[in-house]
Symmetry: C2
Subunit: 313 residues, 2 copies
DNA sequence: CTGAAAGCGCTTACAG
DNA sequence: CTGAAAGCGCTTACAG
């Protein structure tokens, strides 16, 4: 393994000088720079980021913790975050926590030990202590694709669940539905609770209540598209037709939602944009050794396709 | 930030001793150990993995490079790899390369600079130089979910594309299909070529040739399920019914393939198992500072659902 | 069983 | 513009 010292010797300069050209910092004489650059090329030198991180006290890496990487929505979020991170010369490590408090704590410990410069949380268990754990160690964190946590050191890139639920329920009401049910995620997600609450609020505004019995509901609103697809599958296998007998609405608008055979009515969420913004906010904060603080909320428009129709009787 | 030295002072011992109890290495007197453990608890000490990595010359992190994290097959692969890695106390960093040579090289550089202990490649561009780049720097690599690369320093956890294509083509032939077409991935994947070749071989064995014109084909075999779903979408929007007018087969058996509205005939690939095995092989090799070498091939059974039917006419 | 010492490969003031 | 020196937080022989 060739080190800074090898390059320095080859170029006949000091380690400091090599370090200066590698980092592009401070002024180096043109002829010296060229000598060093040649030595770097000839030795195939790659700077050791670990040594750099130790001394410079920044790992140049950020993390994203997601509940379920298998869900294309989170896949997209991670991909866009990675793209943005590497554009800013940061590495991205992903942690899958399944919204399990134990996995979250383990991930937190690991990220702290690795001196991660900042973390994006894209979903977590209810009452998770992960944000506080990180924040208390002065690691900036931004919540992406959810929010509603009371800590003003937190950055948030959120969408508007209240508004989304309002338009979903409004749409369904217009179609004559009066008995609607919410389909909760199996993972005990923080955001799951918020959507359910927003759902109830939208109903109440219309003098309605959530349907308690599944067989009586004429419409199902799922916490996300994957769950909506599973719901359609379950319903249709049980002999109920969507949307003839029952309507189903999703959340996220993953690519498959628009598939000819699915045509899922859902709310559109721009995962790519959220991943980008989250990284930008985070890296900015990390570079200035401060927390994020700013909050961004994006609207998510309702996309009406073919899984919703007029209520039968 | 509390360091080893802080703990040592608090416990009234040397840094070496603290290090020994932290790592659980060498024998430490019971009473000393307890003093140290208390000091660790009281100070909230987390070992600095960066410093450890620098000195011990191992980052305790491995990487997985995937073509498209948005594809649930790769999502599952990454999730299972992460689970296996953290069970062995390794971190996992994921890199999305889209099978672009430039992104692959960039990822390679970054992984080398971060002194990653090993990498799983789950897909790459044709003639990619990534494996060699890593191998030459003595970083063990295992190819997961594909293979066919000629370097005996490489570990491989593969499935059998030849066998799979043989059973797909056999199934379609039994249904009377004679004009079949292969749907290639937009990404220029290494494995894409292999499946296409296996497809041609299976046809030739039956005295058939690939259909050159789409409108004439009675069956489409896609490189993966996502592509198969897109194909069904395209076909049906153009007015052709699946499977009445034309049959479609996928590859991977992602969860959605079994959905009531899809019922995709496909070949089953166990992403979870592959991710696990790949990590085990890799970590073993990394710990012994050697390459992987071993090759595992799993069969992937054909799952016949409802997108394939008898050829018309 | 415990501790003093060297060193991993860098960065960062600070002299010159 | 360049270099000598200290030090980031650990691990690892090696004495004792």
């Amino acid at each position: 393994m060739t080190t800074l010292l090898d390059v320095a010797r080859k170029a006949g300069v000091s380690k400091s000088t090599v370090s200066n050209v590698v980092r592009g910092a401070s002024i180096v004489a043109d002829t010296t720079r060229r000598r060093v650059e040649r030595a770097i090329r000839e030795t195939g030198y790659h700077p050791n980021m670990i040594a750099r991180a130790l001394k410079a006290r920044t790992s140049h890496a950020i993390a994203i913790v997601v509940p379920d990487l298998t869900n294309p929505f989170f896949g997209e979020l991670v991909v866009s975050a990675e793209r943005a991170a590497s554009a800013m010369n940061y590495g991205l490590v992903a942690a899958n926590t399944e919204c399990l408090a134990s996995l979250e704590m383990e991930a937190g410990r690991s990220l702290i030990a690795r001196h991660i410069d900042g973390v994006i949380i894209a979903g977590m268990s209810r009452a998770s202590r992960l944000p506080q754990m990180l924040l208390d160690r002065d690691i900036p964190v931004v919540l992406s694709s959810f929010g509603g946590v009371e800590d003003n050191r937190l950055g948030v890139v959120d969408h508007d669940d209240e508004l989304a639920m309002e338009s979903i329920v409004g749409h369904l009401c217009d179609l004559g539905h009066r008995r609607m049910a919410f389909v909760s995620p199996k993972l005990r997600e923080h955001s799951g609770e918020r959507r359910r609450t927003a759902f109830r609020t939208a109903l109440k505004r219309r003098g309605l209540k959530a349907a308690t019995r599944e067989d009586v509901a004429t419409a199902f609103i799922a916490h996300d598209d994957i769950l909506a697809l599973a719901t359609i599958d379950r319903l249709e296998r049980a002999g109920r037709r969507v949307p003839r007998d029952v309507s189903v609405v999703g959340y996220d608008d993953i690519p498959l939602a628009g598939h000819h055979r699915i045509g899922l009515t859902t709310v559109h969420s721009d995962a790519g944009l959220m991943g980008n913004r989250a990284v930008e906010l985070l890296v900015d904060a990390a570079r200035q050794a401060r927390h994020v603080a700013s909050r961004i909320v994006q609207p998510n428009p309702l996309i009406i396709r073919t899984t919703t129709a007029e209520a039968r009787s």
